[in-house]
């Protein structure tokens, strides 16, 4: 039987981690596949340790980003740079759309408006997670659960998460 997406990802990860372990010796606790999966889902009780290791290892970050894409519900690839000059240009795919609007009361605040056409049970009941992948860095952005297929977040203009979402070079990944 062919392995499913997650199993395949796990196999790859285990192989790479194993090779890494052989090539390096380190006193640090090895990052397990499950650690990254739980980090993606936001379930790690103490994510800081994993994040520190992620930040120290380009290889780990690449694996993390690949895992995110493998577990994704939908993706929006980086935009062609010339396609827009609009700083608040959104994304549109068959599965979701992401728009940005400035608040009329506090102009330094911007809404990120996410619309999911066919949401999963998790997205409707719990929360919605987007990843903005840019330069081997994965920014995790959580939105409240959907109401009528929509959810939104409000950011200060200079919020790093917003900047990554807006950046046309980011790959936006929607988790199930």
């Amino acid at each position: 039987m062919q392995p499913d997406k997650q199993e395949y990802a796990e196999m790859l990860f285990a192989a790479r981690t194993g090779l890494q372990g052989l090539q390096q010796s380190s006193g640090e606790k090895a990052i397990l596949m499950n650690d990254l999966v739980q980090l993606i889902k936001g379930n790690l009780p103490e994510p800081e340790q994993v994040i520190v290791q992620l930040n120290q290892s380009l290889t780990l970050r690449r694996q993390y980003a690949e895992l995110i894409k493998q577990l994704a519900y939908a993706q929006s690839a980086s935009q062609v740079a010339a396609s827009t000059n609009d700083k608040l240009a959104g994304r549109e795919t068959d599965i979701f759309s992401l728009k940005f609007k400035r608040d009329t009361l506090v102009e330094s605040q911007i809404y990120a408006l996410l619309n999911i056409k066919h949401p999963t049970g998790n997205q409707s009941g719990k929360s919605v997670v987007l990843f903005a992948l840019l330069d081997e860095h994965a920014e995790r952005i959580e939105f409240p659960s959907l109401i009528d297929g929509r959810t939104q977040q409000l950011f200060e203009e200079d919020d790093r998460r917003l900047q990554r979402l807006i950046n046309p070079n980011s790959e936006i990944v929607l988790m199930p």
């Binding site: 728009k99 609007k101 009329t104 408006l113």
Partner: protein
Amino acid sequence: MKLHIFVATTQGVVAIQNIHDLNDADINSLVSINGTSTISAISGGYHNFVKKGSGIIQREFGGISYRVNISEQIDQGNSWQLAFYLAHAAHQQGILGNGVVQSGDSVIVATGEVNTSERRVLPVEQVPKKLSLLSSKLEQWAQLTEKVHILIPSKNMADVDESFVSKVQSVDLLDDALKFLPSLAASRSEKSEIEIKDNEAVTPSKNRGSWMLACTLLAAGLMYGGYHYLSSQAIPTQQNADLPQTEQVDDEIGAEQNTAPDEVQNDKDEIKPEVEVLPETSVEPLYIAMSAELKKNNRCETTEKIDLEVQNQSFKPVLLNQLCGLNLTGSNGVKTILLVAQDTKAVRILSSTENGWSIPLPKSRLTDRSYYLFALSSKLSDSQARSLASALEDVPAIRVTKETKRWFKSLDISSSVFSHKLLNY
């Protein structure tokens, strides 16, 4: 003078600082903390509270979506709803404060969930704890203003500690709570002048001097003319109707439920003390008087007729469980009386009798029933009544009388509006 609205929570009072109409269908209504980008956990619930269908805010106050800023996080539950509803009412009146109470301002602290279909205030949890956390704020506010109201659901009154019983007001319906908004109470006297401008019975004042003279002469005539609109024993005829007298109405009545059908709901006394004066045209004044047939010996087989006192265009409330009949008479100019339910906005042309008009009594007597009565200078057809009902469908309840009067004006029909409430206890 501002009205500051606070939510009583188990962490202390939370101020509703401002409400901003986002006016954007793409953006859901939200609650943010202190104007920052931090969204309250109740944002989703607030969005549902606003939107048509599940909510009430859009239905009653219009708008598309709102952003409300509050001073502290509110984490969960629905007990913020009553305060938020009142804040929207205050915002619509232009009097919502920012939570920083100044001398002479008014304060409302509220806790309660809202049944958005029935416009009822539902009980909530931990009311004693919420009240206990108010003490220091109450002391602080007492230095600045006497006008502090603490509103809790009537079904939570049993939970209230003795020390707080005299300080809190219980509310069962949203309309009960709305009465604590200062502007609604004040505007009843202020708006009488504005209403004169809208009222078809009043001449557009090209010539204010002679108009004022007419007012003065009329007032003098009424005062000294020795009119008695209704005797305490008899219902006046249509021809004899004029200014109502202040009659004592017996409200001390027991408890029994009976039947009768109607369509009216909830009290939102938008009626202002409209003082109509004779215009310079030939349009006759439009006054109505109401009398109630009340049970004798708890049965409707024998009844006692009581004239209902009217004040500021509002007839004295009557207990439903003692009511056998309601009758109206009108001044000579009144050709039709239209009943409009305050909540459902159902419209009904009242049937005329040889002595005037009769008001059909409600089928259900389990809740208070409130309605408007429009005395019209012309006949109205059924199709016109249906057309009015359709026009009122999307009108927020708080604007029903104004929009109805505008509608009549567009048909060149003069109107006077009165209100009445039938009580279920």
